[in-house]
């Protein structure tokens, strides 16, 4: 009896968690469909171009179906959905592909390399028309990618390279250039009379993205005789660790007057850390610490509006997604495209922070309402 009762209680608890989760998410973000766990798979029951009425509203309408009207299946294997960047990228690609009439399936590995490789095999069981990867590790995924390509699947990489396999096309921003953009901002705004004492808040330095953002920043700063990076704190992309790192760094060196963050993802911890340390002052006020960051997510843009962040090197998932979808369509139509698309870096400043070109100004989670981005790097191909 006791046992039955406890099983019942456990089931009730589980159900209450799930129903709680479902209710609040459904209320807040009806359009967002984000995989819940690392093995989440989504195959929509039907393509959903119906919400978009005309070709003017939806220039992608009917693009992701073959001559017989069968939808193309795009499979996407990505490393995580913890960050706003990846979530937005996933949501927007899925939305664009479905607006084009195609079917979409995604697998999220949560940085589990073994799982990611298995996911490539799982994906092939669905016989997709194209595979898109945003891997956890450039080299580790390569054998699985090569195998898929040998079996005839076109494979595309977004944001993170696949080293050791020649994917059909690699759509990315140069992470080194993102770091360099922040470095250049510091170089331009400081001088021998006003030297920069810099604290670097790094992402996860075991990952190539963080290493490249570090490299780019150091490339610009190290030759300068009026700027010095006095400390680098590895946060593992955690706001909480960034908060602690700020406290420790200012204990060591109270003269820090510049912060460089590898991502807006840690921004809330950085700003609150500065507040607790009595170092948070908006631009124009005495004691303002110049802050340059990367990504341009909603936290970052808000920090800039509040006057605390001076510049952000934008890393736009929307631009990545729009170009990627078009390149994949070109492959399916048998049309030519480049093997590499390196996207331009935009520096967000208070002058352009409100522009609707900023991906984080689009309504969060409502990917189906986001416009089909008109860009000239690789326009929508004609069949």
């Amino acid at each position: 009896m006791k046992k039955k009762f406890s099983i019942l209680l456990v089931v009730i608890l589980m159900l209450s968690f799930v129903s709680c989760a479902t209710e609040s998410t459904a209320e807040e973000a009806p359009a967002a469909e984000v995989p819940a766990a690392e093995t989440a798979v989504e195959v929509p029951e039907e393509a959903a171009p119906a919400e978009v009425a005309t070709d003017v509203d939806n220039p992608l309408a009917g693009k992701a179906v073959d001559e017989d009207g069968n939808p193309y299946l795009l499979g996407y294997v990505l490393n995580e959905t913890s960050s706003g960047w990846n979530t937005a990228g996933l949501g927007y690609i899925q939305s664009l592909w479905e607006r084009a009439g195609g079917e979409f399936v995604s697998f999220v590995s949560d940085y589990d390399l073994n799982l990611e490789i298995s996911m490539m095999d799982d994906l092939k069981q669905l016989n997709p028309d194209a595979i898109l990867v945003h891997p956890s590790d450039s080299a580790a995924i390569a054998p699985a990618v090569q195998t898929a390509m040998d079996e005839g699947y076109p494979v595309f990489a977004m944001d993170m390279a696949v080293t050791g396999a020649d994917v059909n096309s690699y759509i990315h921003i140069d992470q080194v250039m993102l770091g360099e953009a922040c470095g250049q901002y510091i170089a331009d705004n400081f001088s021998a009379d006003n030297p920069a004492v810099i604290l670097e808040i790094a992402g996860g330095l075991q990952q190539s993205g963080a290493q490249q953002r570090m490299e780019g920043f150091h490339n610009i700063i190290e030759p300068l005789d009026y700027a010095e990076i006095v400390q680098t704190v590895d946060t593992g992309w955690s706001s909480d660790v960034a908060f602690d790192g700020i406290q420790d760094a200012f204990e060591r060196n109270d003269n820090i007057n510049v912060l460089y963050s590898h991502s807006d993802f840690m921004m809330q911890g950085i700003l609150e850390g500065l507040r607790v340390k009595g170092k948070l002052a908006p631009a124009g006020e005495e004691g303002h610490i110049v802050l340059c960051s990367i990504d341009g997510d909603p936290t970052g843009l808000q920090g800039m509006r509040d006057g605390y962040i001076d510049a952000i090197a934008e890393h736009s998932p929307v631009l990545h997604a729009a170009i990627t979808v078009n390149v994949i369509l070109a492959e399916l139509y048998g049309q030519p495209y480049e093997a590499d698309y390196t996207l331009p870096v935009t520096l967000i400043t208070p002058e352009n922070v409100e522009s609707m070109d900023r991906w984080a100004n689009l309504p969060a989670g409502e990917y189906d309402t986001w416009p089909v981005l008109a860009q000239d790097v690789f326009p929508i191909p004609s069949r």
Binding site: C20, S24, V34, D240, Q268, G269, E272, V276
Partner: protein
């Protein structure tokens, strides 16, 4: 010079119990020398105390679990889920702040209850059960947050992580409160005596009439509750909720407890040692940052210091045991 009857002598005689405090003092002195006194500046001491709070709270709950020969890997997930639900209540649902805080605490209690029932009544292994609830809670947090950061928490929420009382951070008061409470609970209450008996010899404890199941459920509820208190402080410090909150903190909590003299074999240790163990871990982190040690080598150094601290403690205990025999 003889210390036969002095307090120092007695302290050294009980080195197995006090080993963690000896290691603690050694690290304080070494870091003070290496950082040229920066590590013992009052502002840095407050800083260290503040950084100790979240792992310290988790370590208090973990201590009770480990004394009972168990393990609770779910605490990091509980912290993430509690943060996510709390932040959603405060921002999107617009519920009163106090109610949201209560909800956050209830989340921890519920997950603890799930762990406790599964482990004590269903006899599921603690390691796998809490690993599963870690995944469940992390997954739900992930789902609720949808990869976004929820910020814009009400200003009053900053009180736990950024406020201070009598010049000492509120979070430190909270840690002190639960440390004292945990100490009294383990040392002077019937529950504490029963817990040590359960950890020392579960069968004998059951034969002696101890309600093992009830106590075990309570232990995991306490652990879950402490995790949600930690979540309260984390969200208050960074004024947002992110899915990475609490990530890996279960291992820090276990390390803190073990460094603090809690035996993985059960029946031994206490919350004071566990909190001292947390201080050791935090001081190492803080010291490496004050010394601006390259982040590439910091993790390895931290691991080495923890390894040496535990190894020296284990060797000293073994030596004492041999001497007793």
């Amino acid at each position: 010079m003889r210390f036969r009857d002095s307090k120092l002598n007695s302290f050294l005689k009980n080195s197995s119990k006090n080993g963690v405090f000896v290691i603690f003092m050694v690290i304080v002195v070494v870091l003070a020398i290496l950082t040229e006194g920066k590590s013992i500046k009052p502002s840095n001491i407050v800083n260290i105390m503040m950084q100790t709070t979240t792992i310290g709270l988790l370590a208090i709950g973990m201590t009770m679990v480990i004394i009972d020969r168990g393990i609770d890997l779910s605490v990091g997930g509980v912290a993430a889920l509690s943060s996510a639900i709390g932040a959603i209540c405060m921002t999107r649902l617009g519920l009163p702040w106090f109610l949201c805080v209560l909800i956050m605490l209830v989340v921890g209690i519920l997950v603890g209850l799930l762990n406790g029932f599964s482990i004590s009544i269903l006899k599921m292994p603690a390691f796998i059960t809490t690993m599963a609830t870690l995944k469940i809670s992390q997954g739900l947090a992930h789902y609720l947050l949808g990869g976004t950061t929820i910020f814009g928490l009400p200003e009053v929420h900053a009180v736990f992580g950024q406020g201070d009382f009598l010049g000492i951070p509120v979070s430190v008061w909270i840690l002190a409160f639960f440390t004292v409470l945990g100490f009294i609970l383990l040392k002077y209450s019937r529950f504490g005596r029963e817990l040590y008996a359960m950890g020392g010899n579960p069968k004998a404890a059951w034969i002696a009439g101890i309600n093992v199941n009830k106590n075990r459920i309570l232990i995991y509820v306490i652990s879950g509750f402490m995790a949600s208190v930690a979540a309260l402080i984390i969200t208050s410090r960074i004024m947002c909720a992110q899915v990475t909150i609490g990530d890996g903190s279960e291992l820090d909590a276990i390390a803190s407890a073990v460094i603090g003299g809690v035996s993985m074999a059960g029946g031994e240790g206490g919350v004071l040692g566990a909190v001292a163990g947390t201080f050791i871990i935090v001081m190492i982190n803080n010291g490496l940052n004050l010394l601006a040690v390259s982040p590439y080598i910091q993790t390895a150094i931290k691991g080495t210091v923890i390894f040496v601290a535990i190894a020296s403690d284990v060797l000293r205990r073994r030596k004492e045991l041999r001497l007793k025999q």
